[in-house]
């Protein structure tokens, strides 16, 4: 029954499309299930873009309050954060691809778009929010997925986020704090202004029996890569970027402090603000350091394992 999810029930989907249950509740969709195939294709595509943002579409279906992503395909578009609605360049491609898919017997519709944020975390920027709102107006149900390929390499697991935007002017109830992530100084403005306009969905993954078999066959690739990888070596540029971002934040916090030194006693509100800013910087710093120490531990273990044989 692990493969039953791969069966597409056209009548159920059509019925769901007709009922449009999501229109009554801006928070209707809460879960996302992503297939191993779609995840791999999105991550490989995101990494192929290097430091340039890439984008693509996801095909799938819905199941109650869950959006199920079965497959993904790249769009011939780059630089999604540098212009509004980058996907306009790919409309023709999207239509052709979707039609050809139907002819090939793939019935799943497009259920969302994904794009990458190389090195600056998984969230929606201002451009992303406006693109997603547009999509949610005309292409429901529609999901936004963001992948950070750079952090994927350094953390050793896929940095991915799935989001849905609220309708214009909607005031969301107080959000549960999502997992903390470092936002670079040059993106904090963009992050802060829009972070209340969308919410993130829980992501789970699934794979078919064939996927299980193929991944088992590739098992030795996995452990060989784990033993022969050096996070310290692979992420030098990224870590250097993070440390320089940290230095800038420290500088900024210090400047704030000096400019505030007028009235000797900082009002409690401001004091709290300083603390939270410095607290964030401290967290970023310890996150970077922990990853560095993990990298060093793996190097020392490898040295003990492979070099100290006499």
């Amino acid at each position: 029954n692990t493969d039953s999810i791969y069966h597409y029930d056209e009548s159920a989907q059509t019925k769901f499309q007709k009922e449009k249950q999501w229109t009554n509740d801006p928070h209707y969709f809460k879960r996302v299930k992503i297939s191993a195939l779609a995840l791999l294709k999105m991550v490989v595509h995101a990494r192929s873009g290097g430091n340039i943002e890439i984008m693509g579409l996801m095909q799938g279906k819905t199941d109650g309050d869950a959006i199920i992503v079965m497959d993904a395909f790249a769009l011939p578009v780059e630089g999604t954060e540098t212009r509004v609605n980058a996907q306009a360049d790919a409309y023709e491609y999207m239509v052709d691809y979707s039609q050809t898919n139907k002819q090939a017997g793939r019935l799943e519709n497009v259920v969302g778009w994904y794009h990458s944020h190389p090195g600056y975390g998984c969230w929606l920027s201002g451009i992303d929010v406006s693109t997603q709102m547009l999509n949610q107006q005309f292409q429901e149900p529609f999901l936004a997925v963001v992948i950070d390929p750079t952090r994927t390499v350094s953390a050793g697991k896929v940095e991915i986020g799935a989001f849905r935007t609220y309708p214009e002017g909607y005031k969301p109830p107080d959000e549960p704090v999502s997992e903390y992530q470092t936002i670079p100084l040059n993106k904090i403005e963009d992050f802060g202004v829009h972070c209340k306009q969308y919410y993130s969905l829980d992501i789970t993954y699934f794979k078919s029996s064939l996927d299980c078999r193929l991944l088992d066959l590739l098992w030795n690739k996995y452990w060989v890569n784990t033993l022969s990888s050096s996070p310290l070596l692979a992420n030098r540029d990224y870590v250097a970027g993070q440390i320089s971002d940290l230095a800038e934040k420290l500088e900024q916090a210090e400047n704030h402090l000096h400019t505030r030194l007028g009235p000797m006693v900082l009002p409690t509100q401001r004091k709290k603000e300083e603390d939270s800013q410095l607290a964030k910087i401290t967290r970023d710093s310890s996150k970077i350091t922990v990853e560095q120490v993990h990298g060093l531990m793996s190097q020392v273990i490898k040295d003990t394992l492979f070099n100290s044989v006499h």
Binding site: L232, L233, I243, S285, S286, I288, T289, Q292, V293, G295, L296, Q299, V300, D303, F306, N307, S308, V309, H310
Partner: protein
């Protein structure tokens, strides 16, 4: 043939042994400790 494979496997140890490797390894080690120290 298995035993021969195992012996050639053991002959590949240690994986690398050179002056330059030691320098690079210790350099990387110290850099990381320095980052940790700075973070503290």
């Amino acid at each position: 043939s298995l035993v021969r494979q195992v012996s050639s496997l053991l002959r590949r140890l240690p994986a690398i042994e050179s002056e330059k490797f030691q320098d690079d390894f210790l350099m990387e080690y110290n850099d990381t400790l320095l980052v940790t120290y700075l973070a503290m």
